[in-house]
């Protein structure tokens, strides 16, 4: 069994490879998700590539759909698609679009227009609650995405319904296209904002696999409330020249840049 650390490293390696296509990739916000998605798919989500539509499954929604490359890499890691297909990313005729398509097994909803995912997860969680089902919904949001008002419509409604089978994960990498989230439109005090909407808040180092494991194992953080996991992350994590750089939002990796990025990634390799 491959360790989760090694899987996360492989996710990053595959994201970088996808970035070599002529259109590039949303590399920064994909790299910041590597551990979060690896732990979710490895130990938390009750999903199966053999039965992607089984009614009692957990539902995963990548509301920050521009990080599709990280999702594809994890889906390949878990048997939802052939890793060789990752080479088709963003190519003509591929199933792997810059933002995920529903025709890909394992993708519950197409996302990309920010601010949609939490409502979708809320609908799924409500359906399970009202029909006696056991499904849970996990929704990964970007932190910049929280500037979309529709996120807070869903947050208010979920808090009111007390849906403890709904989990939001905020990829808190603190950067958006023009710079810092706090410089653009500040999100802090972020935990208080979620709490005031009726959510239980868990804060975690989004690159610490053991901490993520423990946090997800403990959801709902408070029975009778939806849980938001604010995962403090670094945009571009794992590749020194991309880390905490607003320029790492979307990058086309030339052969030379790809080699440098891989070298940086593997310099930090521990296994």
């Amino acid at each position: 069994m491959t360790s989760l650390e090694e899987r996360a490293r492989r996710v990053r390696e595959r994201v970088l490879k996808m970035g070599t296509n002529p259109h590039g990739v949303h590399v920064g916000g994909s790299l910041s998700l590597a551990e979060i998605l690896t732990v979710l798919y490895g130990e938390v989500l009750r999903v199966s590539p053999e039965q992607p539509d089984r009614p009692d499954r957990d539902w995963f929604v990548l509301s920050k759909g521009h990080a599709s490359a990280a999702l594809y890499a994890v889906l390949a890691e878990h048997g939802f698609l052939d890793p060789a297909e990752l080479d088709t990313y963003a190519q003509a005729g591929s199933r792997l679009a810059g933002h995920p398509l529903r025709k890909l097994p394992g993708v519950e909803f197409p996302t990309g227009s920010l601010g949609h995912g939490l409502s979708l997860g809320l609908g799924v969680a409500l359906a399970a609650r009202r029909t006696g089902g056991t499904s849970r919904a996990f929704v990964v949001l970007g932190d910049g995405e929280l500037q979309e008002g529709s996120v807070w419509e869903a947050a208010m409604s979920a808090g009111h319904e007390g849906l403890d089978n709904l989990v939001a994960i905020v990829d808190r990498n603190r950067l958006q296209i023009t710079g810092g989230t706090e410089q653009c439109v500040s999100l802090e005090p972020l935990p208080d904002r979620w709490r005031s909407f009726g959510w239980a808040v868990a804060e975690v180092d989004g690159h610490d696999i053991d901490a993520l494991r423990a946090t997800f194992a403990a959801v709902p953080a408070t029975p009778g409330r939806p849980t938001v996991v604010i995962a403090n992350t670094v945009k571009g994590k794992g590749v020194r020249l991309f880390e905490d750089q607003k320029k790492s939002h979307a990058v086309q990796l030339t052969p030379r840049l790809h080699q440098r990025a891989l070298a940086s990634l593997n310099a930090g390799r521990t296994t």
């Binding site: 529903r102 197409p110 949609h116 409502s119 609908g123 799924v124 359906a127 029909t131 008002g149 419509e153």
Partner: protein
Amino acid sequence: MTVTVAEQLPGTEDSFADRYAGATRDVYRRTLLDLARRDPLVFCVDTDTGGLETTFGTELPGRYINVGIAEANLMGVSAGLAATGLRPYAHTLSGFAAARACEQLKVDIAGNNLPVRVVVTHGGLSSGHYGPTHHAVDDLAILRTMPNLTIVVPADAAETEQAVLATADLPGPVLIRLGRAATPLVHDTVPEFVPGRAAQLRDGDDVTIVATGPHPVLMALRAHDELATLGISARVLNMHTIKPLDTAALLRAARETAGIVTVEDHLVVGGLGAAVCEVVTQDAPVRVRRIGVPDRFIDRVGDERDLLVAAGVSTERIVAQGLALAEAQRNDRALAERHHASRAGSSSRG
């Protein structure tokens, strides 16, 4: 047009008019509840519109969800419910569904071809004196651009009931556009409702009137009667389904009559009239006269009928356009005959 109270419905003491008295939305709420009693998958998702909480919400609280005044959330939540196999009926005002929550409706519901029924009120100018924030005269133009979406505009309360029942099992998303205040009954018996097939309410072969929505259809029927007294036989089509459009009925009308008058409580831009033009210009070019709301905001205060007439949507204008189309065809024929005669004359001289 007079509404006759002819038929007693089987198993009920109510007359047809009693049974379908009130606004389309009142009859809709009753129909939804009937449907939900039979189908445990039916859910009611509300945006605090008022009236559903005391009907559906009281009888079936486990299947009633009020997401609050939050239309974007309404669409996403309904998409989520439908994705799990439930059959949500999502409720808001037409202008808010088409414009405010346009993207969620497009991406999350239509884009995934999910069986959500979005049932909207305050269509067209039915919100009357509420003003232009509540008018929905651009909704059909916006909604028509969404692939997969079936769009239905019932002409009265009886047709509303039948439309809800007839669309209940469609595999994809459906939008049903209702009004606000009560409107007169168009039908005097329960109409057959086939989604996507225009209802031919009156036969005729001189001109065709194609109408959608309660007042436009009523006006079309009155215009039919007035044109008849002037010797013009007008076919009347109730185009209750805006998408998919009944192109076969339109092409027949284009080929069999002098032209088409379209009538709608919607902008002349992008609505029924535009849709009819898109169809006939391609396969059976014919004169089309579009009667609808002009391309400007309406800040006049008035009730639905007053605003429609002020906007130029009236029986009189339908009659005038019907006469004009019939006359244009007579002129065409006269010209053609003269042309034919002069050609015949010139060849005899040669």
